[in-house]
């Protein structure tokens, strides 16, 4: 999604002279277009992420809308206090952008993974976390983040194009719709692409709804609640740990609305269960986020 992201930033920054882009010394072979075209509104703040976020807060106070970019774990964990105190408490337009959310950086190892980021950031005051599942989500998300002008986190990954867009229910975007659904799947981020692959198999065709959670904290409109109310079985899938993740956040809203299910399954990042490392697919498989395990779980609904 980096290409879609840098294209979207280029477009919006050239149209809005208040947009500033700061990188924490990353972006090789991805952000050169911004470096070339944004002039003094492209800043390399060096390998100093905490300063980058404090700096962004100061610039936002003077009227700029500031993107801060790095690898997801670097922009989230190290800067959490700066984002909380300097940005969120003041409701300033500073937008953290983390590339490679979840296990996106695979064999780079645990230091480069971000599987607790949504829990940490979505709990803060005034913030909205945006998680594109598909490459074509990125540009509208960037535009909405700038339009909202409030603290935001954009978690980038690697995704294909949206298979079909069947409408939005607040935070939820329907991408696969079934009139005779045996269950509904709610997915966070590009792991939704694994679900799409499963639902394209003949065995599962036209048996499930697939919704992606575009942003958290979740807002779900009445139509979305009604759809979930009429669902017998629910599977939530996310490349994020259980604590503070999508399933937990969604569950509270569903319980508050009296919505229960015959079967409820949460597939989530399980960390490093045996202490071994591999590519993103390896870690997804270890956590049961792979197509085979998704298919096994969906069979329990049929």
């Amino acid at each position: 999604m980096r290409r879609e992201f840098s294209d979207a930033i280029e477009k919006i920054a050239l149209a809005d002279e208040k947009v500033v882009f700061i990188t924490g010394d990353l972006g090789y072979n991805a952000l050169e277009n911004l470096q070339e075209k944004l002039g003094n509104r492209f800043i390399n703040a060096g390998v100093a992420e905490q300063n980058m976020v404090g700096l962004a807060a100061g610039m936002a106070y003077k009227g700029f809308k500031v993107f801060c970019y790095s690898i997801a774990p670097f922009i989230v964990y190290r800067c959490w206090e700066q984002f909380r105190n300097d940005v969120c408490l003041h409701n300033l337009p500073v937008f953290l952008v983390g590339n490679g959310g979840g296990y996106g950086y695979g064999i780079m190892g645990s230091s480069h993974h971000a599987i607790e980021d949504i829990a940490g950031l979505s709990s803060l005051q005034n913030v909205k976390c945006w998680v594109p599942a598909f490459a074509d989500d990125v540009e509208p998300f960037v535009n909405q983040i700038v339009a909202d002008g409030r603290p935001a986190y954009l978690r980038l990954g690697a995704g294909k194009q949206t298979p079909a867009h069947e409408g939005n229910f607040g935070s939820l975007k329907m991408v696969v719709k079934s009139d005779e659904a045996k269950g509904t799947i709610v997915a966070l981020g590009p792991v939704a692409n694994n679900v799409v692959a499963v639902l394209q198999q003949e065995e599962f065709a036209n048996k499930f709804n697939l919704l992606t959670a575009q942003n958290v904290p979740l807002t779900i409109n009445n139509e979305g609640l009604s759809l979930l109310q009429n669902t017998e079985n629910l599977l939530v899938i996310e490349e994020h740990v259980s604590i503070g993740g999508l399933a937990q956040q969604l569950s509270v809203q569903l319980m508050e609305n009296g919505i229960t299910f015959k079967k409820f399954i949460s597939l989530r990042a399980e960390g490093y269960p045996d202490g071994t490392y591999g590519d993103q697919n390896f870690h997804q498989t270890q956590s049961g986020l792979d197509a085979k395990n998704i298919a096994d779980k969906l069979r329990l609904f049929v």
Partner: protein, 274 residues
């Protein structure tokens, strides 16, 4: 200079009078609140008089990065009319907008909540960077403690400010030599050291942090130097300055005053200042 709630301050004599007025106000605030952080406020209030209350223009920003000296900030903003007498009386009380460390979004003269050390310089650097892009000619003032120069973010921001040529950034360090649990030089060494800051490229001057004229004039000189180099005023100060039994005593970072101590403190300030 400034128009305060009481009069127009247009001479050093007027500013010097504030050294007494504000100290008495700070002591009353802490005594009424039965609260600590007295020594820290007395240590840096003169720096605030020489910058916030005399140099800062309306559109410019002054940041108190050492948020634990909030009482000194509140007293100054009360003097400039940005905090009312009624509001000032709510210091430390339930329902106040004036807690022990500056809160966000409530007082125009407090653009950012502070209290966790190491945040002020990065933010101020961002404001100074914004001013450079906007070409608005504004200066940004930030006041840190010397203990705060232990923080890594301070050095990240310092390097940034030098690399980007932010000569509109005026940093002040309240160097009283004491920090949370010991002497600064015995804990991590002197991180508010002139040669260290010069080595990374700051324009550094040391001064007597209780001499209003010296503080004011040095900031004036800093502002005149549009040389692409950020400025640092290392102000040598005394924690608890003006109160005999508090001076250079670490415990007055924390302790509240008993009634008899308050009386002595008020007498000391009345006797020590014009």
């Amino acid at each position: 200079m400034i128009t305060s709630k009481n009069n127009t301050l247009n001479s050093f004599a007027d500013l010097k009078k504030l050294q007494k007025t504000l100290r008495l106000r700070i002591l009353e605030m802490y005594f009424t609140a039965n609260a600590g952080h007295i020594g820290c406020s007395l240590s840096c209030v003169d720096l605030m008089i020489g910058s916030l209350l005399s140099h800062k223009q309306d559109n410019e920003v002054f940041l108190l990065s050492k948020g634990h000296a909030a009482a000194a900030l509140y007293a100054c903003l009360n003097e400039s009319g940005e905090i009312s007498d009624e509001e000032l009386k709510t210091f430390y009380k339930n329902g106040t907008v004036l807690p022990a460390h500056p809160a966000p979004n409530k007082i125009a003269g407090i653009p950012f909540a502070t209290g966790s050390l190491g945040h002020g310089l990065p933010i101020a650097t961002g404001i100074a960077q914004a001013s450079k892009i906007l070409e608005n000619g504004e200066y940004t003032y930030v006041l840190m403690s010397d203990g705060e120069t232990n923080e890594g973010t301070t050095w990240e921001a310092a390097h940034y400010a030098v690399a980007k040529g932010l000569d509109n950034l005026i940093v002040m360090v309240d160097k009283n030599g004491l920090q949370g649990f010991g002497n600064t030089d015995e804990i991590l060494g002197v991180s508010a050291d002139k040669t260290k800051w010069e080595a990374i490229g700051f324009d550094v001057v040391e001064c007597d942090g209780h001499n209003i004229e010296e503080i004011y004039n040095q900031i004036d000189l800093f502002k005149a130097k549009k040389n692409g180099i950020p400025k640092l005023l290392i102000a040598n100060t005394t924690k608890g300055k003006g109160v005999s039994y508090m001076e250079n005593r670490m415990e007055w970072h924390y302790l509240p005053m008993k009634p008899e101590q308050f009386e002595i403190a008020m007498n000391d300030v009345n006797n020590n200042y014009v």
